[in-house]
């Protein structure tokens, strides 16, 4: 039943090719495939430095069949603003200009340019595929890395000490017309949000959870399972925010315990029961906070 629904929900066209350079089980690769299916050929992508700088293929190859402008780490939203301006001057206001950035290029080094573009309400779609660390350079922590996680710069003796930055609240505070979270583990939800984002004018932001087997340390085939666990356990809720003010959930979040999600990943292996209980506490507290936003 659900398989039929997914098949019907997704467009047949393929704008991403085989032969790309992602690791097996890469959530970021699957996310791009689904997003491009929905956006279609009339899309121009700019990518700051991230795993996708590699996945897209080295010169002279390309694993996506839309124009791509690879750019410096902190410039995604600003480059997209320039592309948009040039297209508008040509009278082309329909082509989607999309930034495709990792969490480092969004939460950290690219946040200033993103904030500038969002404040100007540039007519662009900004997608952050979030694998929760600098994976392309070998798993260093970013401000999207969850509390307690091991990375190569947050070793087990001193794991990530800060909670994940609340990027959705930051984007909502810019009062952009549309922001949403998604994950390729729920394709129908994801493409519905892409469709919605495509139809809106102004700055649109998609925050996509993109499980990463080598970075999170789990078997390749478990990516979608883990993403679903994250959603069900309210670690990564599925949301839409309109005009920064109207928050709503796009699916049910039963509130499964966080423990199976945490235990499944090597990056959390060092956490003891008390620490996992702390993760649960933090997730519960954020959920309560989020309920406040959704109710209002």
């Amino acid at each position: 039943m659900s398989q039929i629904m997914i098949k019907d929900a997704l467009q047949q066209r393929e704008l991403m090719t085989s032969g790309h350079l992602a690791c097996p089980g890469c959530g970021g690769a699957l996310a791009m495939r689904m997003v491009l299916k929905e956006l279609g050929e009339r899309t121009i992508v700019t990518m700051p430095a991230c795993c996708w700088s590699v996945i897209a293929g080295p010169y002279p190859t390309a694993s996506v069949q839309v124009p791509v402008y690879h750019t410096a780490f902190e410039t995604g939203a600003a480059v997209a603003s320039g592309i948009r301006a040039a297209l508008d001057m040509r009278g082309d206001t329909d082509t989607t200009v999309m930034v495709w950035a990792g969490d480092g290029g969004t939460f950290d080094i690219g946040l200033q340019a993103l904030s500038g573009a969002a404040e100007r309400n540039e007519n662009i779609l900004y997608v952050c595929y979030d694998n929760e660390a600098y994976m392309n350079t070998g798993i260093q922590r970013s401000s999207a890395t969850p509390w307690g996680a091991w990375t190569t710069t947050t070793p087990v003796a001193q794991p990530q000490a800060n909670p994940k930055k609340d990027i959705m609240a930051i984007m909502a505070a810019h009062r952009i017309p549309y922001a949403a979270t998604a994950t390729p583990a729920y394709p129908t939800d994801l493409v519905a949000k892409v469709r919605r984002a495509k139809s809106v004018r102004g700055t649109r932001f998609l925050h996509i959870l993109a499980p990463c087997p080598p970075g999170w340390k789990y078997a390749d085939e478990r990516s979608m399972e883990l993403a679903r666990l994250a959603v069900r356990a309210r670690i990564f809720p599925m949301l839409e925010v309109e005009d920064g003010q109207h928050w709503r959930f796009t699916m049910d979040h039963p509130g499964d315990p966080v423990e199976p999600y945490v235990r499944a990943q090597g990056r959390f292996r060092h956490l003891d029961d008390a620490q996992i209980a702390l993760v649960q506490e933090r997730v519960d507290a954020r959920w309560t906070e989020l309920l406040g936003r959704v109710m209002n």
């Binding site: 700019t46 750019t71 600003a78 320039g82």
Partner: protein
Amino acid sequence: MKKVIVGNHAVSWGVQLARTEVISAYPITPQTQVVEQLSEMCASGELNARFIKVESEHSAMAACMGASAAGARAFTATSSQGLALMHELLHWAAGARHPIVMADINRSLGPGWNIWTEQTDSLAQRDTGWVQLYCETNQEVLDTTIMSFRLAEQVNLPVMLVLDAFYLSHTAEPVDIPDRELVDAFLPKRQARLKLDTAEPHSFNALVPPASYMEMRHALQEAMREARTAFDEVEEEWEQRFGRRYGAVEAYHTDDADLVLVTSGTVTSTARHVIDQRRAAGERVGLVKIKMFRPFPTETLRAALAGIARVAVLDRNLSPGRGGIFAEELRAALYDVPAEDRPQVYGYVLGLGGRDIRPDTIDTVIERTRAAAAPDREDLWVGLLGDDGAPATTGRAQTSADSLPGVEA
């Protein structure tokens, strides 16, 4: 049409006449008047362009890159810290071969805060792959702005036009503003060879392995070589249409000269005045103005300076640990001149942080150069003050060469 305008507005007029399509900029003194007037022009419809008011110079350049990659004619302007902040993307814009034009209004770099003129900001960008053109007058600023677009789009390289803070940026001079139709004929709409286009998708700036990177750098170097001759052709056509030309290098009274000053920017005008006076008194002095710094006009400078005994370079800039940057480049360029024709190069550092360079400052340079058969070091400082704030009477700041350490009078 003649108008009395400041240098910053000469830039804006040039950008408007060039029918620039995308502008992106961030405010910094002394550049701000450029973008203020462009904002007015966009708001009034005088210029049909999208003006992206970004949150930093870094994003200003990034937006220009995106616009240029999508086929638009793009412009920005900045100074000093703003240019330094852009540094990473200056490499990116040149490596991606975007014909962006930028005005840099030369200003000192902090600390301490100093908004006055100095060339170190632009010269420090010499290895980024941007053509650099320095201007002496507001007319030259306007003409160079329009010519820069033509040159940039011909060779697919970004062009930085450079003007002195305040001496040009805020000083009003009569400027002949060319007719729009004539400019249109000189500079047609940009036709990008490759652009971001969904009808013909290409990937730009993808991962480049060692097997191809070096060829791309070589192509960049060849484009710079092409820019040297292309600039002369562009100027040739500009002269035919508008009757003005400046030259990558201008030689002024150099034919029989035994001492030649080398200048760039507005110092040139002061130096011209000094040369005129000394010529009138029968002195065999001349002047070479360098307009084009990148690509460096090596051959032209060799031809202009070979056989001249002493060359005094006026550098309103500093590469700490080395000295004046024009002097350094010039020494390297003249190295291949046969020894008997090779000038002795005196590198003077002066006017930093907007300190005045007056006719008597240039007199000091000439006298010191005449007094010493060879300089005793690469950087000769002029106009330094002593601890008491008065002109220093010891060490490098001396005006009398006979007590300069290591210099034979």
